[in-house]
């Protein structure tokens, strides 16, 4: 084996991370009272795959934890133990520990070894307890078990393997009982293991590292003699008769494991062709039989092939579909593709513009081709942009766990629902929305939803309802965090604001009062918990969302709850823009901010001393912002009634932007100004026009914010 394994590490890490996430999701879905066997199997499979991967890459600590986890899971899924809420908690903790260990390997972060030892102990104790057998009466096993559990002594002779594998194996087998190690004359290692587990467990462990058929296992003395053998036999037989529906009998697991292992090795986690050598797996049982005279092993082997085959096929199918449905590509490759397509779109626009003047009859064929090119380019652009889109589920899926933990910690009961998890959003945005959303959800749980007693007293159901939803609305996505808790306390917010010397008045509209909570250092929480209440956060939430080009809106009603909605553009890379002309310059206004455009009547423009001009639009007075003054342009018109105004709205504030002319409406590819230059006040980016020239995109939100201080004389940002 001279394959450099390091190149597969990243794949292993990614896969393990996904498996852990999957495991968590499944665990959270588990109904403790009536667990879905398929769900339990899926959790077991996830744990098993991680273990297999970890063993392949020699990451023993990960393997050890998954092993105990798997042992316990295995007993539960086989119905030997009833699932309890404690189990689920322990599994979730174990998942966190595994994540920590994984990060330890991948990012070289610290690993809390005590926590690792704790969880292992906890899982081992749980697995050892046996618990209440789920189907006690139907199981003759229950009675026979004590005998089966008495210690037996095995001698295991290994084929020639590297010392590292021997160490790993020794550590792994050590989990079963007392192990001692010796080296045989021909440099092979041999173990003597005293354990109450059966030979099949030993084989199962060894099969992670070795081919079981190379292994010689002999039972040296059997302290409990025939009784033990008898009981194993019985158990095997009983299990086979019962069949247990979808569960594979325990003994077949070993063969299945061997098969899975083979398969995993062969597939190499998606990099190797999915070729499954059937021979070795099938042979293993046969050849083993020659070496062993253990009756239980016989029973196991004979049971194995029947069960193995369908199990393997099923697993194969899952693997194949998972592989063909997605590929892993670096985000920079996608971005490069998007950039290239962006340029193609610009080039296409240029061609279109230049062929526009041609005689349509003389150049009919050329023009036809050009219009086809236009269509194709547009389709291509849409398709490429959709690569970057990810479902909101990516964000939502991490909340059930958090809600559950927090609710437990704070002694609250919360029913958590999500809606619109399939709504898609640009990957860049989706990653940046996680933190603000986490903060909002924590706030809702900590401050919003009341403790059960308080809820009962208020005539509400004891369990609070927290919902996360996402939906598309025009070019935006609206994400809402909504709770049915106590709502915001207007008086307390106002009092707090006064205390902090903020300009407030009692007759402020609710909307403005709610916005106060976004001020830095603002917290009305009476006590600072480790969950929230330090007053940092809401301002960060607001700032993060604003930098993403979004807006936050709060609706709250006392006693009925609070809804915080975040509105974000779907993607940062493309924008629907309105191009406007002032003097010789063309600027782009993001269409999302544009309410309407009109030609003002001279009478509607009013001068306010020292405050600039305002424009009366249907009874509403809006500040008039002359773009030529903001950007110091030589305009064509200086009187608003000669040109046009565009009514803009952002953050609930409206203004009229005075321009010379409208040019048109188009989709523009947003380019960053900062990558080669610096941030420019009033400009959010640049784009390339059809003629190859550059046009600047106006930062409408900043423009409107600064419009307050605008007056005729000095225009500053």
């Amino acid at each position: 084996m001279t394959i450099d394994m390091s190149q597969f590490f990243q794949v292993f890490f990614d896969e393990t991370e996904e498996l852990l996430a999957e495991m968590e999701k499944l665990l959270l879905d588990v109904d403790v009272v009536a667990p879905d066997p398929e769900g339990l199997n899926a959790i077991f499979r996830a744990a098993h795959s991680i273990k297999g991967g970890a063993a392949t890459f020699g990451i023993t600590d990960l393997m050890e934890v998954t092993h105990v986890l798997e042992t316990l899971l295995d007993r539960i899924r086989k119905g030997e133990m009833a699932l309890t809420a404690e189990h689920v908690d322990a599994f979730l903790t174990a998942k966190d520990i595994l994540k920590m260990q994984l990060d330890g390997h991948r990012l070289h972060t610290d690993v809390d070894l005590d926590a690792v030892a704790n969880i292992r102990m906890m899982l081992e104790t749980m697995a050892g307890q046996g618990g209440a057998p789920a189907k006690a009466p139907a199981q003759p096993v229950g009675a026979a078990e004590p005998a089966a559990r008495s210690d037996r002594r095995f001698r295991i002779e290994l084929p020639p393997v590297p010392a590292r594998d021997v160490d790993a194996l020794a550590a792994e087998l050590g989990l079963l009982g007392d192990i001692s190690r010796e080296t045989l004359a021909d440099q092979r290692a041999a173990f003597t293991l005293v354990t109450h587990e059966g030979v099949d467990d030993i084989l199962a462990i060894c099969s992670f590292i070795l081919d079981p058929k190379d292994l010689k296992i002999s039972e040296q003395t059997a302290p409990s003699g025939d009784g033990s053998r008898q009981s194993i036999d019985e158990r095997a037989a009983a299990e086979e008769q019962q069949g247990y529906g979808f569960f594979e009998p325990m003994h077949s697991r070993i063969a299945e494991e061997a098969a899975t292992k083979e398969k995993e090795n062969a597939q190499g986690y998606g990099f190797f062709p999915p070729f499954v050598p059937k021979e070795p797996a099938a042979q293993a049982p046969e050849s083993d039989q020659d070496d062993e005279d253990e009756p239980a092993a016989h029973a196991a082997r004979s049971a194995a092939p029947e069960h193995k085959a369908p199990a393997k096929r099923e697993a194969d199918k899952a693997h194949v579909s998972a592989e063909s449905s997605s590929i892993r590509v670096g985000i920079e490759k996608v971005d490069q593709l998007i950039n290239l397509v962006g340029e193609l779109v610009i080039t296409q626009a240029m061609i279109e513009q230049r062929t526009d003047t041609l005689d349509p009859i003389l150049h009919e064929r050329l023009l036809n081709s050009v219009s086809q090119l236009t269509r194709n380019t547009r389709d291509l652009q849409e398709a490429v942009m959709s690569i970057r889109m990810m479902p909101m589920d990516y964000v939502f899926s991490r909340f059930p766990r958090m809600v559950r933990d927090l609710a437990n910690k704070l002694g609250k009961r919360i029913e958590f629902v999500t809606q619109g998890a399939a709504t898609e959003l640009d990957k860049g945005l989706i990653e940046r929305i996680v933190d603000p959303l986490t903060h909002l959800v924590r706030n809702s749980i900590d401050h919003g939803i009341e403790p059960p007693e308080a809820r009962k007293a208020a005539g509400k159901s004891e369990a609070g309802r927290l919902s996360l939803s996402a939906e598309h609305q025009g070019g935006n996505i609206i994400i809402e965090v909504s709770d049915d808790g106590g709502g915001l306390n207007r008086e307390r917010i106002l009092a707090k604001a006064r205390q902090q010397d903020m300009a407030v008045s009692d007759d402020m509209p609710d909307e403005d009062v709610w916005q106060l909570i976004f001020a830095p250092g603002f917290s009305t929480a009476e006590t600072v918990t480790d969950v929230s209440g330090r007053g940092v956060g809401m301002d960060v939430v607001k700032r993060n969302i604003t930098t993403m080009g979004g807006a936050v809106d709060i609706k709250s009603s006392r006693g009925f709850g609070t809804t915080i909605s975040i509105s974000l553009p779907l993607t940062l890379a493309i924008l629907d823009g309105m191009s406007v002309k002032v003097g010789d310059e063309i600027y782009i206004l993001p269409l999302g901010y544009v309410v309407e455009s009109l030609q003002p009547k001279p009478d509607d423009v009013k001068e306010i001393t020292g405050q600039g001009r305002v424009l009366k639009v249907r009874g509403e007075y809006l500040p008039l912002i002359p773009l030529y003054k903001v950007f110091g342009i030589e305009p064509r018109f200086t009187r608003p009634s000669d040109g046009l105004v565009v009514i803009l709205e952002s953050e609930g504030r409206k203004a009229a932007l005075f321009i010379d002319d409208l040019v048109g409406q188009q989709q523009v590819v947003v380019k960053n100004l900062e990558s080669n230059y610096r941030k420019v006040a009033g400009i959010s980016g640049a784009t390339i026009l059809g003629d190859g020239g550059v046009s600047l995109i106006i930062d409408v939100a900043a423009l409107l914010r600064s419009s307050r201080q605008l007056n005729n004389e000095s225009i500053t940002f």
Binding site: I633, N676, R678
Partner: protein, 164 residues
């Protein structure tokens, strides 16, 4: 993609090296050739509002937005005229692409180390902080500019300083 080819330029500047010679007013300057991405003619720029006068604006360079500065305005040299002979040197400084308008580009000169003398304290339009030396070659004298330092300086304001 274009950036990547240029980034490891500074390594060789210690030994005798190639310089791009260009003219600003009456003086001839030289910059490390490895910082130069390409040389282009001047095309219409898009003005940036409220930018310093020497920042002419931005242009589209194959899909990248590139700022253009006019050194003649910045250093009060020569007459800033823009015609088909106006030259823009496109620089790549630490992955950032920017254009600089000069009077003219002469040629590429190889200078060995002993041809480079320490820079005088005075006498050039550029602050001596940005000079690496004087290159002499027969009759010609080249003022060697540390273009990296100049372009990333606060004075040029091309790169935003990260606020503390």
């Amino acid at each position: 993609m274009i950036q990547a080819d240029q980034t490891n330029g500074s390594a060789g500047s210690e030994a005798g090296n190639e310089f791009l010679a260009f003219k600003l007013g009456k003086e001839e300057y030289g910059i490390d050739i490895l910082k130069v991405q390409e040389i282009r003619g001047y095309e219409t720029v898009t003005r940036i509002a409220n930018a310093p006068e020497f920042v002419k604006g931005v242009v589209n360079l194959r899909g990248i937005i590139v700022p253009i500065v006019d050194m003649r305005i910045k250093f009060h040299l020569g007459e800033p005229t823009y015609d088909q002979f106006t030259v823009v040197i496109i620089l790549n400084i630490g992955g950032r692409v920017m254009g600089m308008v000069v009077d003219s580009v002469s040629d590429v000169i190889t200078l060995s180390r002993d041809q480079i003398k320490p820079a005088p304290e005075m006498g050039t339009a550029f602050n001596s902080d940005y000079l690496t030396g004087l290159g002499t070659m027969e009759e010609r004298m080249l003022i060697l500019v540390d273009i990296d330092k100049l372009m990333s300086s606060e004075e040029m304001g091309l790169i935003e300083k990260i606020a503390a």
